[in-house]
Symmetry: C2
Subunit: 364 residues, 2 copies
């Protein structure tokens, strides 16, 4: 049963994840010739590339051609209009972290265009936007997949959806959801004891590219809070926003107003003693920065916790993520998913896997 109609794909964003995705899309189009995948639109915030006849942009050199393009991006309403007129089903792949693009999902989906994205903003913003997105999808039949919005390519969203959709009762979700925090605490408070100074570890993590340009964007806990918001909502809790539950920031109050990440890093050593005290007070346990969702008590929180050395969270290595799902069916031993939760290739993998799933459902 070869599908005959091509699938039209519009890609927004060509940064780290976007570039990896385009490379995976190129290979996918070769491996799976049917249905034909037509990359009919690609854009960054400044440039765009598209053909009025919906013919495919050459996937071999899309990034280079885009760099030399004289076209500017279409407005989102114009892009939706363009895609709904394509001679087949269309999918927008949003590889940005833009709130503006996220805000347009309900309109996109309502028009019958599916969405695949690692962008957390749509699913961790206001609860109203979350509801609008899934109502629009249900009404039009267009799909919305976002595996890489939590734990990059790790099977986190898909596993939670399978648990919920098959009628299991999720009681608790707990884990390390940030590669940066994982790396920092595995170095600062290793299970073997010892570990460096907190400020040194933050500097090292930045040098290795494990933090955002300003490390405070990791240390404020908001990235973890966004991921917890998404998982809590999938588990059935109507969480209002990522700031509607307790999130422990690891930025000392006095350094919140630093004008730059560099100034912050310069002044951070003065607060090492505070983190050393936290580490010492953990005693035989280890200190980790985790997120947890208790479904029964509707409690979501992000912050420091201590764990026995035999706990799976203590056994984590490098910058890996770990996510434990406690459910009625799985009992006292959780269903655990663990591995790299950041990086261009593994994030793009989650996007490509989602794209394959959406194609399987909308191909005609």
């Amino acid at each position: 049963m070869a599908s005959t109609k091509p699938i039209f794909i519009a890609v927004i964003g060509a940064g780290g994840v976007g570039k990896c995705f385009l490379s995976q899309l190129r290979d996918l189009a070769v491996r799976r010739p049917s249905p034909k995948l037509s990359l009919c639109y690609i854009a960054t915030s400044r440039k765009a590339l598209y053909n009025d006849d919906y013919s495919s942009i050459n996937l071999e050199n899309a990034i280079d051609t885009l760099a030399n393009s004289s076209k500017t991006p279409q407005s989102l309403p114009d892009l939706v209009d363009y895609l709904t007129k394509a001679p087949g089903k269309a999918i927008i792949v949003d590889n940005t972290s833009s709130q503006d693009v996220a805000d347009a999902y309900p309109t996109v989906l309502k028009a019958g265009v599916s969405v695949v994205t690692p962008n957390k903003k749509a699913f961790s913003g206001s609860y109203k936007l979350w509801q609008d997105i899934f109502q629009a999808s249900a009404a039009s039949g267009a799909k919305v997949y976002h595996e890489s919005s939590v734990g990059a390519g790790l099977p986190v969203i898909s596993t939670l959806k399978d648990l919920v959709e098959t009628g299991d009762e999720v009681t608790k979700i707990e884990g390390v959801f940030s590669g940066t925090m994982s790396f920092l605490f595995n170095s600062f408070a290793p299970t073997s004891g010892g570990g460096g100074k907190w400020s040194d570890e933050v500097k090292k993590a930045k040098e290795l590219g494990y933090t955002e340009p300003d490390p405070r964007d990791d240390l404020n806990g908001l990235d973890v809070a966004r991921k917890l918001t998404i998982l809590a909502r999938l588990a059935g809790l109507p969480v209002e926003s990522p700031t509607s539950f307790p999130v422990e920031s690891l930025i000392p109050k006095e350094l919140e107003s630093c004008s730059s990440g560099d100034e912050f890093l310069e002044k951070l050593p003065a607060f090492d003693q505070h983190m050393d005290e936290k580490k010492a007070s953990a005693g035989d346990k280890v200190l980790r920065f985790v997120g947890s969702i208790d479904v029964a008590t509707k409690s979501v929180k992000v912050g420091l916790q201590t764990f026995e050395l035999s706990h799976p969270i203590a056994a984590l290595k490098g910058s890996d993520n770990i996510i434990s799902f406690y459910t009625k069916r799985y009992g006292s031993n959780a269903l655990i998913v663990q591995g790299a939760g950041a990086g261009g290739d593994v994030t793009a993998m989650g996007v490509t896997a989602d794209l394959i799933k959406v194609i399987g459902q909308i191909a005609q």
Copy 2:
């Protein structure tokens, strides 16, 4: 976009997994009214229940009604004929472990009827059968999903398929694939040292229901070999059969000919010393029964291995499974999935999740 045509479901097998599945199907039909799910056929090896007009069997009391039915099962060709004439797409859910049913999958799929199953036999039998199944599926467009054939409801098959389909290069798969073996070695050779006598642990496992009626059916390693065969094939190795690679049996040669499981258990203590020596020779490491696939060297093997205490396999608890995927994208830290890999409810969960995925693709 409400789907209008109903989906027709035929269930073969009403044992432990089958009963749990029917209960999940009943809840699913209530939660997701569209497309309508019509249970038009259900059978054990002796009895069957179906309506000539394809109307749905009442899901509230299907098992009881089946027990009182005077109808006998249709032959598989007759069942296929019945389903292809249904007024909508059909799915066979094979909750048996029957080789006969598995052998019919190519015919079923060729006729356009999809298959969802936890039955390992079809995917771990001859390589010819494997090829016939996937060729038939590709030709007709009918789907075949079998998540629960490895690790029950754990996301193992789906994760491996995502890795392969998005173009990652799987280099190694390693893990504990048997709940029975996991329980036995976590008790016999705990990471904390000590542990009981081997024969006592086998007896205890049997009493707790963790083994097959004859424990030799677990100890021969064939169940693990079947799972490894499936994963190796998905990773691209054309493994001929589960007996075409080295499998270490934990049944002493002298006890292979025992006429019953009870006789085996009676005579097993005489061989405890052998297992004690194995345990002692592990030194600082722990002894575990694992399966591994090395894709580059095309080597698949099942048997005893020793692991450092810090290795994720050593940290396993109870009767949990653990599966580590090493790939080019994930680098030296594996993508790990862990949790209960046996039990009616979690096995049925994998079947129900697969069913939802197939419905999403075939609904019209």
